[in-house]
Structures are given as structure tokens and as C-alpha cells.
């Protein structure tokens, strides 16, 4: 079991690094979306500070969503997804490895970049660790929930917009808790409660989402 996890992980890792440009795309998107906001609403630091938690979180959410669109596509097209479904190993475990790898190359990078953008949107520096922590807890949920949508739309040609339509309403709790934590921290209030709730959502989606992703993939492959 551990061996298959390791094999899958190294496969994903190698595939990802063969095309390093694709790894960067979500990050560049994240950066551009955030930079649009000061241009649109004006460079006034006070206003940027109030908007910063929401802007960074919405940008992270959209970047994750965009990067998930093609998550299963190449595996679906070259037939390796069918081999996954046919293999004796539990499909839920295999997709979990795939999604976690996706999070590692996309979500984690967003987490590491976020303090920089927090600083640019003039968040006080004591808030930046909180911002990174909430993103660290929240982005796995985004990846896992989004993968459910990606699995359900795997065989479809116009998957992108549909994926957003299916998944964005489900992202709302993460968005509320994440921005709530950062705003509380800006006001000097404790954030433990938010962090625990986010961790709770992360554990819940870690345990339930792989089952739904596997079910979605089985349906998509059977077509």
C-alpha cells in the first residue's frame, strides 16, 4: 500500500517537473489578480488593508480552481485513469495522493507567496503568519473539494466554467472562516477558534472528499 502511494507520488512529481511552466501559471494568476485590485480601487493603504484578507482569499480560491480544471484531464485522455479504476488498489487512496501532490505544488506555493502580497496590500506584519496559517489549513480543502468537481466534469469539453459553477458555492465556508480569521487578527482578536474550524474542515474533506472524487471518476471513465 505504501509502495503504491510512493510510486504514484514520484510519478506525479516527475510529470509536474517535466513542465515547470505549468506549475507557475496559478501563481502568476494569483499575483495578477491581486495586483488588479489596487489598480481598480485606488492605492489608498487604509482601504487596501480592509480589503486585503478578502482579496487574497478570493484570488487564492480562483487560482486553485483554475489549476484544478486540468487535474484529471491528461490522465483521462491517455487512458491511465482507466487503469487506475481497474487496478486492485483503492481508487480513493490513489486520488488522494494525486490531489495532495497537486496541493503540494500549487496550494503550498500560494501559502508561501501570500505574506508577500499581504505586505503589498499593507497588512500589518503581525497578521502575515495568521494569513499564511489560514491558507495552509484552507487550501487543502479547496484542492479536495475542487477535485470532486474536476472528477465529475472529467470527460466534458467545456469543463472550466461548469467546474466553477459547481464548486464555488461549496467554497463559501472556507472563504468565510479564512477571511474572518485574518480580519480578527487585524483587529487584535484571538484566531484560535477560526483556525480550529478550518482544521476541522480540512480533516472532514480529507476523509470524505476522496470517496466522492473516486465515485466521480468511476462515473466519468464509464462513459
Amino acid at each position: 500500500m505504501l509502495q503504491i502511494v510512493w510510486l504514484l507520488f514520484t510519478r506525479e512529481w516527475r510529470l509536474a517537473w517535466r513542465r515547470p511552466g505549468q506549475l507557475l501559471n496559478p501563481l502568476v494568476f494569483f499575483a495578477i489578480v491581486i495586483s488588479l485590485f489596487p489598480l481598480a480601487v485606488g492605492p489608498e493603504p487604509g482601504m487596501l488593508r480592509t480589503m486585503a484578507p478578502g482579496v487574497i482569499w478570493v484570488a487564492a480560491l480562483l487560482a486553485t480552481l483554475l489549476s484544478l480544471d486540468g487535474l484529471f484531464r491528461s490522465d483521462y485522455e491517455d487512458g491511465s485513469l482507466e487503469q487506475w479504476v481497474l487496478s486492485p488498489h483503492p481508487l480513493a487512496l490513489m486520488v488522494l495522493v494525486k490531489v495532495l501532490h497537486h496541493w503540494l505544488v500549487c496550494g503550498l506555493a500560494l501559502v508561501l507567496l501570500s505574506p508577500l502580497f499581504g505586505l503589498m496590500l499593507s497588512l500589518p506584519s503581525r497578521v502575515l503568519p495568521v494569513l499564511a496559517l489560514t491558507l495552509l489549513l484552507g487550501t487543502p480543502v479547496l484542492s479536495l473539494l475542487g477535485a470532486v468537481g474536476a472528477a465529475l466534469t472529467v470527460g466534458l469539453k467545456s469543463g472550466g466554467v461548469l467546474l466553477a459553477l459547481l464548486i464555488l458555492p461549496l467554497y463559501i465556508p472556507v472563504l468565510i472562516l479564512g477571511t474572518g480569521a485574518v480580519e480578527a487578527s487585524v483587529q487584535g482578536l484571538p484566531v484560535t477558534g477560526y483556525a480550529l474550524w478550518l482544521a476541522c474542515l480540512a480533516v472532514l474533506s480529507l476523509s470524505l472528499a476522496p470517496v466522492a472524487i473516486a465515485a466521480g471518476l468511476r462515473i466519468g471513465v464509464s462513459e
Partner: protein, 247 residues
């Protein structure tokens, strides 16, 4: 326990026969309940001591909201039946109920906005309950979009079922987080729920319209399902016979 009725539900022909017999009863119930309830509510129920006559929109608003919410639970239940027992009728029900649920949510939102103007002075506030209804509408849109995007009927049925179940798991989380978000950002200024207890003359018509809306939902769902069943089974003998008889 005798489960044969449950397995019979899987047969489109049986459903078509039995729903044809039920339909007139539900239609009569809809007309009676909605007619009496709305006339009573709009003309004879006493005025609200604070809101005057504007509160009377409650007789449309609350039933629509209730049906909209229970319709989503029904979708998820139909989804579970689709996935577990592979029952085609559950899939038909899921597909036919989603647009009705979306319309009910829409009616609840629109009547809520119309009601909000005289009561709160604005059409829309980001109140927790309004926001949850808006999200419910988006969830319905997602289900309708997915069911239409996949051309293969079986695949579409299963995928929509999975989405409905995932949505149902998420609804309580969304609901609580939105409630929490609202109490964080602004104090709950408006509480529709905490009215002084309604007198009987006010809630009895409400009860009638609620039942009437459920009957209306059943009638439109059965009609849509019958049409869909005919469309799917149009090559079979019994459909041809039934259509011959209808001529």
C-alpha cells in the same frame, strides 16, 4: 416487511399508471388549499400591528422558501436511490425536481426582496438567511448545469446524484458559516423569526398555503416526470397503447 411496492417504483409503466390516478387528487388539493389560503391570507387575515398590510406577502414567501429547501433534500435522497438501487425513476425525479426547486428559491428571493423594501427600507441586505437562500439557488444552478452538460443519460444521472449528495453534506456547513459570518460583520438587526406569536387567524392561512405549495410542487413534479417517462420510453409498447387510449 413487504418491499414489492419499492421495486414497483422502478417500473416506469407502473409509475405512469399510478401517477395518472394520483394527479387529479393533488391538483384538486392544490387549487383548494392555495385558493382558500391565499384569499384568506390576503383579504381576511388581520393586519400586522407593525408592518400593516405588507406582511401579507408572507403567504407566498414562506411556503416558497420551505418547498425550496425541502426540494434540495429530496434531490439528494433521489441521488442516493439512483446510486444505490440504480432506479431510473429516481433519476427522472432528480432531473425534473431541480428546475422546480430553483424556481421556488427564486420566488422566495424575489418576494423576500419585495417584502424587504417596505419593512427594512432596502431590497437586499446581506442577511444570513437571504445569503443562504442565494447560495441554495447557486447550488440548484450547478445541478441543472451538470445534468444538462453530460449527454449520456446514465452518466449524467450518476454524476448529478453525486453532486446532489456532496451539496447536501455541505449545506449545514454553509448554513452555519454564513450565520457566523453575519453575526461577525454586523449585528442581526432584522429578525424575521422572532415575531410576537402569530394569532390563529394569521398562521392558519399560512399553514394552508404551505400545504398548497407542497401540493403544487407534487403536481408539477408528477407532470414533468410523466412527460419525461413518456419521452424516455417512447419506443415501448405500453407508451404507444397509453397514447392510443388518450386519443
Amino acid at each position: 416487511m413487504n418491499w414489492s411496492f419499492f421495486h414497483k417504483l422502478g417500473s416506469p409503466k407502473w409509475f405512469y399508471d399510478i401517477s395518472g390516478r394520483w394527479l387529479p387528487w393533488f391538483a384538486v388539493a392544490t387549487v383548494l388549499l392555495l385558493g382558500i389560503g391565499i384569499v384568506w391570507g390576503l383579504f381576511f387575515a388581520p393586519q400586522d400591528y407593525q408592518q400593516g398590510n405588507s406582511f401579507r406577502i408572507i403567504y407566498i414567501h414562506v411556503p416558497a422558501a420551505l418547498v425550496a429547501q425541502s426540494c434540495y433534500v429530496m434531490l439528494a435522497a433521489a441521488g442516493i436511490v439512483t446510486l444505490v438501487w440504480r432506479m431510473k425513476l429516481a433519476d427522472v425525479a432528480l432531473r425534473c425536481a431541480a428546475p422546480i426547486g430553483a424556481w421556488m428559491t427564486f420566488i422566495a428571493l424575489v418576494t423576500g426582496a419585495i417584502w424587504g423594501k417596505p419593512t427594512w427600507g432596502t431590497y437586499w441586505v446581506w442577511d444570513a438567511r437571504l445569503t443562504s437562500m442565494l447560495i441554495l439557488l447557486f447550488l440548484y444552478f450547478g445541478i441543472i448545469a451538470l445534468s444538462q452538460a453530460i449527454s449520456n443519460r446514465d452518466t449524467s444521472a450518476k454524476a448529478t446524484a453525486v453532486l446532489a449528495i456532496v451539496g447536501l453534506v455541505n449545506i449545514p456547513i454553509i448554513k452555519y458559516s454564513v450565520d457566523w459570518w453575519n453575526t461577525l460583520h454586523q449585528p442581526a438587526t432584522f429578525k424575521i423569526t422572532e415575531k410576537p406569536a402569530m394569532p390563529v387567524e394569521m398562521w392558519l392561512p399560512l399553514l394552508l398555503t404551505v400545504l398548497g405549495f407542497y401540493a403544487l410542487f407534487t403536481v408539477s413534479l408528477l407532470m414533468r416526470m410523466r412527460l419525461e417517462v413518456l419521452r424516455r420510453e417512447h419506443k415501448t409498447r405500453w407508451v404507444r397503447d397509453a397514447l392510443e387510449k388518450a386519443k
